[in-house]
């Protein structure tokens, strides 16, 4: 053996060191590539052989190129990514909601309550002022508009959240598909190799896909011996060997906006707002249904109580003008059913109201009591019998329209007014009322009062406009309401906003701490798998020097051969 073998060893070493420079070069080139995992050239001494009595080495061998990766850290990172993305998502939902509410600004629901109350109070001070009448009507309209526009923008946000859910499902499916395709490529590439994780860039790609998938739904993965991975979300698999399952959307309850929930395509498990677990997808569902949907519910409770209580007081008052004709804003499906069973949003009770017929020429008023019997017996008042009772009053008539409205007409030269409604039948039917509708999506202002602000019921049976009803109405936001468990509208609004504030604050804190954790894990991951230029430079120098040394061996052997040949 001798020189020939030595030359072989040196030549091989030159190859190995060139490869080393290539690996280092690749690392340096990718120093700023996101998701790049630093690679190392794995070297091992060549096999030895015996030439009795000596045992000689055969130089260096390159075993493979290995990614420098900590699998445990990677798993932790996926979990932390899911957690952070979840709370971050919810946090932004809360921020949006708070920005919509403008609770600390000058234009929110509470300030609208106040300005309506102010307009009513001003009207109570000067009840015969037509200008203040019109102002009260427009302040009330502004309140109704701001409630319905708040509801509109919350609905809009919910529908955006719903679109987001659909987009996230598409993204997740793409990522799952990517991983399903990457798995066999990695297996194939690494099948002939001894070392795992040699298919560097493909694995980088897969790690990145896993990371992105974990942003959407919480996942765990296990790596098989062949280099492929199985992915699970909770108890559902996403990728299992060669099988995979996609996510799909299924329609869910609406609450004013058509929404979808998410289902695992094969196993059929569903993701809803009440599902445990984190990730952007669950957070989007929670934000849509719990945060925004919950707020919508509270807003509806607040609004419907406001409408019913306000209208109950309003309906017993009278304006400077009466009505020559007035039509109920609400309808009854069956005019022969007792009014308490007729499906009205606000249920009337046993009692009566007074119908005043005013002679326009003489100013004389005739008051009649219309009894509303709702004691539960067979004689209970229906819409038809109510119309009949009103028809019994001189110079007033009532008809039930085909579509279930009650229309009351005054005779020619007469007007009708209403008072002392102990049955709440007027407010439930929407006769002589201010607000229309029954919740935040349907609230509006009765067209009768917007058409003629002088019908605004500011007085209460003390002749022309004594302002007493306006004064009573001006307290609407500060009167305890039984429907709100004895809280006032203002208190209820405050509780609503404070509740959102508390949740938002908790979510912010959670999101910050999860961000910190994620950052610390990322730092660890970057420390393990990132490219250190200095380290690579040292490596480069090592390879360079090894190369120089091996080249020296070659020149030495060359000169030795020259000596031999020149002999």
């Amino acid at each position: 053996m001798g020189l020939g073998a030595a030359l072989g060893i040196a030549g091989n070493a030159l190859n190995v060191f060139s490869t080393g420079v290539q690996v280092t070069g690749n690392n340096l080139a990718n120093a700023s590539t996101p998701g790049y995992i630093v690679e190392n050239l794995q070297l091992t001494p060549g096999p030895s052989y015996g030439v009795s009595p000596l045992i000689l080495g055969t130089g260096v061998e390159a075993v493979g190129v290995k990614q420098q990766v900590n699998q445990f850290l990677q798993q932790q990172l996926l979990g932390a990514t899911s957690d952070y993305n979840s709370s971050n998502e919810l946090n932004s939902v809360y921020t949006n909601l708070q920005q919509q509410l403008q609770a600390l600004g000058d234009n929110n629901l509470s300030t609208q309550f106040s300005s309506f109350a102010s307009a009513l109070s001003n009207l109570a001070n000067q009840p015969s002022s037509a200008a203040l009448n019109a102002q009260a009507v427009s302040a009330g309209t502004a309140l109704a508009n701001s409630i319905s526009s708040l509801r509109g923008s919350i609905d809009n946000q919910r529908s955006l959240a719903n679109t987001q859910v659909q987009q996230l499902v598409t993204q997740a499916n793409t990522l799952i598909q990517n991983i399903v395709q990457l798995n066999p490529q990695i297996t194939k590439l690494e099948s002939s190799q001894l070392l795992q994780s040699q298919a560097g860039s493909l694995r980088d790609q897969r790690y990145q896909d896993l990371n992105q998938l974990s942003q959407i739904i919480p996942i765990t993965y296990t790596e098989n011996k062949d280099g492929s991975v199985n992915i699970y979300s909770g108890s559902n698999y996403l990728v299992l060997g060669e099988q995979s399952q996609q996510l799909r959307t299924v329609p869910s309850g609406s609450q004013g906006v058509a929404t979808v929930n998410v289902q695992f395509g094969t196993t059929g498990g569903t993701l809803t707002a009440s599902s445990p677990g984190t990730g952007q997808l669950t957070a989007a569902l929670k934000g849509r249904d719990n945060v925004l949907g919950g707020f919508t519910q509270n807003l509806d409770t607040l609004t419907s109580n406001m409408i019913s209580e306000f209208n109950q007081i309003y309906a017993s008052g009278e304006g400077t003008d009466g009505y020559s004709s007035v039509t109920s804003t609400n309808t009854v499906a069956d005019p022969t059913a007792a009014l308490s069973q007729a499906g009205l949003a606000f249920t009337p009770q046993n009692g009566s109201f007074q119908l005043q017929v005013v002679n326009q020429t003489t100013g004389l008023t005739t008051t009649s009591t219309i009894n509303v019997d709702l004691t539960g017996g067979p004689g209970d008042t229906t819409l038809n019998s109510l119309a009949a009772a009103i028809n019994g009053v001189a110079n007033a008539s009532a008809t039930v329209t085909q579509d279930g409205h009650l229309q009351i007409n005054a005779g020619s030269g007469y007007q009708v007014k209403f008072s002392n409604d102990t049955s709440n039948v007027l407010s439930s039917l929407g006769i002589n009322t201010f607000f229309t509708g029954s919740d935040s999506s349907s609230i509006g202002v009765n067209s009768a009062v917007t058409a003629d602000p002088n019908t605004f019921a500011s007085g209460q049976g003390n002749g022309p406009t004594d302002g007493s009803n306006a004064l009573a109405l001006s307290q609407f936001a500060d009167t305890p309401l039984s429907g709100l468990d004895g809280e006032t509208l203002n208190q209820s609004y405050n509780a609503l906003v404070t509740g959102i504030a508390n949740n938002a604050s908790a979510e912010t804190t959670l999101s910050q701490s999860q961000n910190d954790y994620l950052q610390s894990l990322t730092a660890q991951q970057q420390q393990t798998s990132g490219v250190s230029l200095d380290q690579q430079a040292i490596q480069l120098m090592q390879y360079q020097e090894g190369y120089q040394a091996s080249a020296k061996v070659v020149t030495t052997i060359d000169s030795m051969f020259q000596v031999l040949l020149n002999m």
Partner: protein, 649 residues
């Protein structure tokens, strides 16, 4: 900024880069927050940034909004009251002027011509005061009650002054739980409506009567009652009946009756009169009614009682309402609707028929339609009618038209129970007069009977018209009969002994004049009465009526009237100064509340500021700190990024 440990081993360049980026981002974010705080002056802009403070800020903001509105209300109210005050001062001055004219007229020095000129001056004062009484503030008539779009006072062609306002208060909230009126009605300030003659007409209870109208308007507390029926045959039944949804007496009747087998228990209103109570009766055996859990429902309905075959309650005293049927008045006896009544309102005299009226409201509308210058309604006690005139300077009275209509309605202005002292516009009847040395002047009514004899009826000690009637009727019972006029008002005297046909004369003296009875009935028909005149005309209260009377007294040189008016003017001056005092103290109260409100608002603002506003000093020093550390971070980042072994190879 998150802080975490860096493990052993190499430091990758991506770690350095991302760490630097994170640090710079975090600091920039803090910088941005402080910048926002400094530019907005607020510590935070979203509730979630400080939930604790938010929970205090929200109610404070609402309080501030409410207080701001109270301030607005106070300003408006003070404006109203200020103008009212000015008008009252004008009234006071004018009254004093009129009073001097009155005193001048009373003096012996002024001639009838001078008095006539004074009357002209009084006319000017009246025009001025009508103008004052029609003062406006921000387009609203101050003294019109709630009818504030129309001038409340107008001088009619007849010279009488008509008040078209009402007595409603315009209330305004000036502090939590404090609601005060911002007006005084014309009636309070200037007067203009006569004091109504009204008596309890005792309305009967009907099935339609609202429970809230019972017990003089105190109503019946909502609750459940327990009724035990012990029939003579079979076991006794105890039922708990929830009456909290009952609205009318009829609802109560139904609820109780329906709780038992049909016909076993009856709840009715005994026919009376007076039909003013409820009665519960068992068909057989006994019935007992009690309240539950300390309630007062059964007791207030008058039904509570121990076992008896029937329990009858006491008078439920329902309020008189617009919808009370006339037939239910006087305990269910109703009223005489055949004859109608006579009404005198200034120059207007008419007979009004109420035959077509069913309810109180119909009656009031009939009266109002007959005479638009009436003020019609229900009295403040809620148990009678209140009819008065809105005209100042005229006489007003309601009398009979041959029946008992006005008396049944409780609105006749001269009845047997009218006290003598109130007759003749409050001058009374001199039944207890004394001469200048203090000796009593005999209060004798001298009657020349149809038989030619003259008798004297001593009315000393009589207090009411009934006393006078009794005194006369005691002279020759059944023959010399005094009674109230069957048509209109006044006292009628009949002398029918079955024989005599001579004239019947009541000698003209102070007493007979005061009773309106002086005169002669010369008809030979002894059934023809000597009909007296109405000596109890009603007049509007207040300054316009007095001034109009003064004007006419001066014009006609009527010293007696001037003398009568003098104490009334004194009283009016006193009354006006009381009203002025009330307006003044109302203004003072409002000013006090205004001060309180603004102090409170300052306090609220300061609490709000503590909670919400940024502390500039600390924010600015924080800003400097962050700037320093940002600078340091940037420098460190730049130099750490530059360091590389490549620089040395």
């Amino acid at each position: 900024m998150s802080v975490f440990g860096i493990g052993m081993g190499s430091i990758s360049n991506s770690l350095i880069a991302s760490q630097n980026t994170n640090n710079i981002n975090a600091l920039m974010q803090q910088l941005q927050t402080i910048d926002q705080q400094l530019s907005s002056g607020l510590q935070f802009s979203l509730p979630g940034q400080n939930p604790q403070a938010t929970s205090s800020i929200l109610p404070i903001n609402q309080d501030i909004a409410a207080q701001t509105q109270y301030q607005t209300n106070l300003t408006t109210d003070l404006g109203f009251l200020g103008t009212t005050d000015t008008s009252m001062q004008t009234l006071s001055t004018s009254l004093n002027q009129a009073n001097s004219l009155l005193l001048g007229g009373l003096g012996s020095t002024s001639t009838p011509a001078e008095k006539s000129a004074d009357a002209g001056q009084v006319g000017t004062i009246i025009s001025g005061l009508v103008n004052t009484a029609n003062s406006t503030f921000e387009g609203q008539y101050l003294f019109a009650g709630s009818a504030s779009q129309q001038p409340p006072y107008q001088v009619l062609q007849s010279g009488a002054v008509l008040y078209t306002g009402n007595q409603a208060s315009i209330n305004s909230q000036v502090a939590p739980g404090l609601i005060l009126p911002n007006n005084i009605s014309g009636v309070t300030a200037f007067g203009g409506i006569s004091t109504p003659v009204s008596s309890d007409v005792n309305p009967a209870v009907t099935a339609q009567t609202n429970l809230s109208d019972l017990n003089n308007g105190r109503g019946v507390p909502a609750g459940s009652i327990q009724v035990t029926l012990a029939p003579t045959a079979g076991p006794s039944i105890t039922e708990t009946i929830d009456l909290s949804h009952a609205h009318t007496v009829g609802d109560v009747q139904q609820a109780i009756q329906n709780a038992f087998p049909p016909g076993d228990v009856t709840v009715g209103i005994p026919a009376g009169p007076p039909a003013d109570a409820l009665q519960i009766t068992a068909a057989t055996g006994t019935v007992a009614v009690s309240d539950l859990n300390g309630g007062k429902t059964a007791q207030s309905l008058g039904l509570a009682g121990a076992a008896a075959s029937s329990i009858t309650g006491g008078d439920l005293n329902p309020l008189l309402t617009l919808l009370t049927p006339l037939a239910a008045l006087n305990g269910g006896t109703g009223v005489d609707q055949t004859h109608g009544l006579t009404l005198t309102d200034g120059s207007q005299q008419q007979t009004i028929s109420i035959a077509g009226d069913t309810t109180v409201q119909d009656l009031l509308n009939t009266l109002q339609a007959a005479d638009p210058n009436l003020s019609v309604g229900i009295n403040s006690a809620g148990n009678g009618l209140a009819i008065s005139t809105r005209l100042s300077g005229v006489n007003f009275s309601i009398g009979e038209n041959g029946g008992t209509t006005a008396t049944d309605l409780g609105i006749r202005t001269l009845t047997a129970s009218t006290s003598l002292s109130s007759l003749n516009l409050g001058q009374g009847v001199p039944v207890n007069a004394t001469d200048s040395s203090g000796n009593p002047i005999p209060a004798n009514l001298e009657i020349q009977r149809r038989s030619g004899t003259t008798i004297e009826v001593n009315l000393a000690g009589a207090k009411t018209v009934q006393d006078v009637l009794n005194d006369i009727n005691a002279v020759d019972p059944g023959k010399l009969v005094a009674s109230l006029n069957s048509v209109g008002n006044g006292i009628s005297l009949t002398d029918n002994d079955g024989v005599s046909t001579g004239p019947l004369t009541v000698t003209n003296n102070a007493i007979s004049q005061a009773l309106g009875l002086a005169g002669t009935q010369s008809s030979p028909d002894p059934t023809q009465p000597l009909v007296g005149t109405d000596v109890n005309p009603q007049q509007a209260t207040g300054v316009f009526n007095l001034l109009l009377q003064l004007q006419s007294a001066l014009q006609s040189n009527n010293t007696a009237d001037l003398t009568r008016l003098q104490p009334l003017f004194q009283q009016e001056v006193q009354r006006v100064s009381t009203v002025q005092g009330n307006v003044g103290s109302q203004e003072e109260l409002l000013t006090q509340v205004q001060t309180q409100t603004s102090t409170e608002q300052t306090n609220l603002q300061s609490s709000l500021s503590t909670l919400q506003d940024v502390n500039m000093a600390s924010a600015i020093s924080q800003l400097t700190q962050i700037q320093t550390s940002l600078q340091a971070t940037l420098q460190t980042a730049a130099s750490s990024m530059q360091l590389s072994i490549f620089n040395y190879i």
